[in-house]
């Protein structure tokens, strides 16, 4: 698992580091300047960017070795390999958030919301990243050509359904981030994060299931 993580992070540093960091700093600077670092808009923008990074991680865009190759080369269980990739994606997303943290702190002091709200929003972004990575990994068994559609479809389905169904809205990360920042009614954030983590592990299990099924047919 550690070897998978190191390999993924090294792959990102070699191949996609420049792209993801550049996109993040340019987009956040633009949105921050236009909106005067308005917290809701900046956090939603950060959430979008981190989701995009997590999708790329899940689709193995910078991986030196794909899941199949790891499975062939090592004796590690499939779940360990998947969790290794997921953790690597989480670390990469956390590095992006860490670099943005200085700006987020300036935003907090400027606008006056509290640290708990910032921590909630950041945790939501990171748990969303874990879920979306799982979607990407779910499609890993399909091969490169089909992955994009699968990941995109799953992510869009999740966001749209949770956005439109009233009792599922708190499971929509963008709605939850907005709500936790501006609403006077504070939902139980611990429970929501717990559900997000549960969803993330569900996607990893699903990825392992799809992969095993595909491997059996091959």
């Amino acid at each position: 698992m550690i070897a998978v993580m190191i390999s993924e992070i090294t792959g990102w540093l070699k191949n996609e580091f420049r792209l993801t960091i550049t996109v993040m700093v340019i987009v956040i600077s633009l949105v921050g300047t236009i909106s005067f670092m308005r917290p809701e808009f900046c956090m939603e923008t950060l959430a979008l960017i981190i989701t995009w990074v997590a999708i790329k991680a899940g689709e193995e865009e910078w991986s030196e070795f794909s899941l199949r190759e790891w499975d062939k080369r090592t004796n590690c269980s499939l779940m360990n390999l998947i969790i290794g990739k997921a953790w690597a994606a989480l670390v990469i997303c956390s590095i992006h958030v860490l670099f943005a943290m200085g700006i987020l702190v300036i935003m907090l002091i400027l606008w006056g919301f509290n640290w708990l709200q910032l921590v909630n929003a950041v945790l939501t972004i990171l748990t969303t990243a874990m879920i979306v990575t799982g979607f990407g990994l779910c499609g890993a068994y399909l091969g490169k050509e089909e992955v994009n559609h699968f990941t995109g479809f799953m992510t869009a389905f999740w966001i749209i359904v949770t956005g439109f169904v009233p009792f599922l809205r708190l499971l929509n990360p963008f709605y939850f981030i907005w709500n936790s920042l501006v609403s006077q009614v504070r939902p139980s954030t611990f429970l929501i994060h717990f559900v997000y983590l549960g969803l993330a592990f569900l996607t990893y299990w699903l990825a392992a299931y799809f992969y095993r099924k595909e491997t059996c047919y091959v």
Partner: protein, 542 residues
């Protein structure tokens, strides 16, 4: 068994002693003058605790029945057994709650009826005057309206100038040097703001109250000593020997039908809360936007530099840059926050009372649009901010909150401020702040006016009709008549009318800037856009 029984005894002692300690704390409360309050004015609330409570706070809660917010005035009780506070008497507050709290536990809670004896008229305080004099004063404005004379004792005289807000006049025989320093200062401030006092049986020399107020008593039957916009009418004879008719008393105390008196009353002198834009706020916001843009560009450039130039150890450099920005975020955020002030509009008007060395301030802070979550609004922060007067008093203003109270926290040092009214996203404060840095010993109105003109860059003179601004084109820095008032005064018509009503014929020096060493702040920033007015005497510019 012995061990168990001794532990049991110890527990019993602790349990039994707890109610005993609580029972030892007593509160004596009083509102108004002998319970009388005047609606639309500030009334005194006096609380005495029988012993000092360490780590304790005393809260005076004004629960509003119809408005959206209640006010909690919170005092520290360490080393303090007597608290004199002010409460604004409005239509929708009937009862106050007084709470004594120690280490977050409520030790005592009691109620106080604010309107048990309400008198919408001229309320005159009298110390030991004969009943015939009292009757004459009460007829002073008849047949249009009665005047109420409330007998009080010397210790009942306010020690806080704001508590004279509802007092129409003061009648007493010269008590000599018995007033406390706070009472003297409060009395002087009220007189300087237009208050009128009648002093009978004046004593000679240093024994007289006049000497303590800085006046040399003359040995005449009746003399008037002006102090600021008000003054003292002193009688050599006692009230028993005076043959004053009701109309005489009307003249002595300058009584006019309520509420058209000319003395300074904070509720009537400062206009009602208006959503006027503070001059210069647009300039502050655009400055803050440019600075923020520069900071974001710097941040973006630092990230791009790492992506472009660093080939090895990229992660190390990225994390170093991240930690550097995290460390710099706090001072940068505080600095930027000081410029922008969370987008709140702050409106502050002051009146300088030279004779007392203080300024009466009226501060209105407004987070303009409450956030609904449905519109894009860059105006002000929906999370509000902390208002501060000096370093000892503060409260958090929130645009919307489920907790519908505004708590004004006071520190251990004495200050004279009151929360007049609050609502979602706004607060209105009044207070007397010191003007020490502008006043040196022996300085009079002329000296003060000269100092204010020299120190302030934006001043105008207003004689009730025309405005005059300094002209450097003329020899000797003369004053040039202007067609229009300066831009920062154009929205102040109501306040200027009140200035004229306070004292007809007075020429005013009006300026913009902070005069008191006690600063008004919002979060990280200090507000310096206050508009003030000081009397401008003849001869000030010679």
């Amino acid at each position: 068994m012995k061990k168990i029984s001794s532990i049991t005894v110890l527990i019993m002692i602790v349990l039994l002693s707890k109610p005993t300690f609580s029972a030892e704390v007593n509160l004596k409360t009083r509102v108004g003058f002998n319970g009388y309050t005047v609606p639309g004015t500030l009334a005194p609330v006096l609380i005495e605790i029988n012993r000092a409570i360490t780590n304790g706070r005393l809260e005076i809660v004004s629960p509003s029945e119809t408005a959206s917010y209640s006010i909690i005035d919170s005092f520290s009780t360490t080393n303090l057994k007597r608290i004199e506070a002010s409460v604004f008497v409005t239509e929708d507050i009937n009862d106050l709650k007084i709470r004594l709290i120690s280490n977050k536990h409520t030790l005592l809670e009691t109620g106080l009826n604010l309107k048990a004896k309400i008198f919408p008229g001229n309320l005159i305080l009298a110390v030991k005057i004969p009943s015939i004099t009292q009757q004459m004063i009460e007829k002073a404005l008849l047949p249009s309206e009665p005047t109420l004379v409330v007998p009080i004792e010397i210790p009942d005289l306010p020690g806080v100038a704001l508590n004279y807000d509802g007092v129409g006049g003061l009648v007493l025989s010269d008590p000599g040097p018995v007033l406390k320093p706070l009472q003297i200062q409060a009395l002087k401030t009220w007189l300087a703001g237009g208050g009128r006092m009648a002093l009978g049986a004046i004593r000679s020399g240093q024994d007289s109250l006049l000497s303590i107020l800085g006046i040399s008593p003359e040995l005449m039957e009746r003399s008037f000593y002006p102090i600021g916009f008000g003054g003292i009418t002193a009688f050599r004879s006692g009230f028993n020997d005076l043959k004053q008719s009701p109309s005489d008393w009307q003249e002595v105390l300058d009584l006019r039908p309520y509420p058209n008196n000319s003395r300074l009353m904070s509720s009537r002198f400062f206009p009602d809360f208006r959503y006027a834009t503070t001059p210069g706020s647009a300039e502050l916001s655009s400055r803050a936007v440019s600075y923020l843009a520069m900071i974001l560009i710097l941040w973006a450039v630092s990230g791009l530099l790492i992506t472009v130039t660093v080939k090895h150890n990229r992660l190390f450099f990225l994390i170093c840059a991240a930690l550097l920005w995290l460390g710099a975020a706090f001072p940068i955020g505080n600095w930027l926050g000081g410029i922008w002030n969370r987008g709140a509009e702050i409106h502050c008007r002051n009146l300088v009372l030279p004779e007392t060395g203080s300024i009466l301030v009226d501060v209105k802070i407004w987070f303009k649009q409450s956030y609904s979550g449905k519109t894009i609004n860059f105006k002000s922060s929906p999370w509000g901010g902390k208002v501060l007067i000096g370093e000892a008093e503060g409260g958090i203003v929130k645009p919307e909150s489920q907790i519908k109270t505004f708590t004004w926290l006071r520190g251990p040092s004495k200050t004279e401020t009151v929360v007049k009214s609050v609502g979602p996203g706004w607060v209105n404060l009044n207070g007397y702040l010191p003007l020490k840095s502008y006043l040196t010993k022996g300085m009079d109105r002329i000296g003060l006016a000269r100092k204010l003109v020299e120190s302030e860059s934006e001043v105008v003179i207003w004689d009730g009709k025309d405005f005059y601004q300094r002209s450097f084109r003329q020899v000797g820095n003369g004053w040039e008549k202007k067609e229009q008032p300066p831009e920062w005064l154009r929205a102040e018509t109501e306040w200027l009318t009140n200035l004229k009503r306070l004292s007809t014929g007075t020429v005013w020096l009006i300026g913009r800037g902070s005069l008191s060493e006690v600063k008004i702040g919002l979060e990280k920033g200090i507000f310096t856009g206050e508009i003030w007015a000081a009397p401008f005497p003849e001869g000030a510019m010679e």
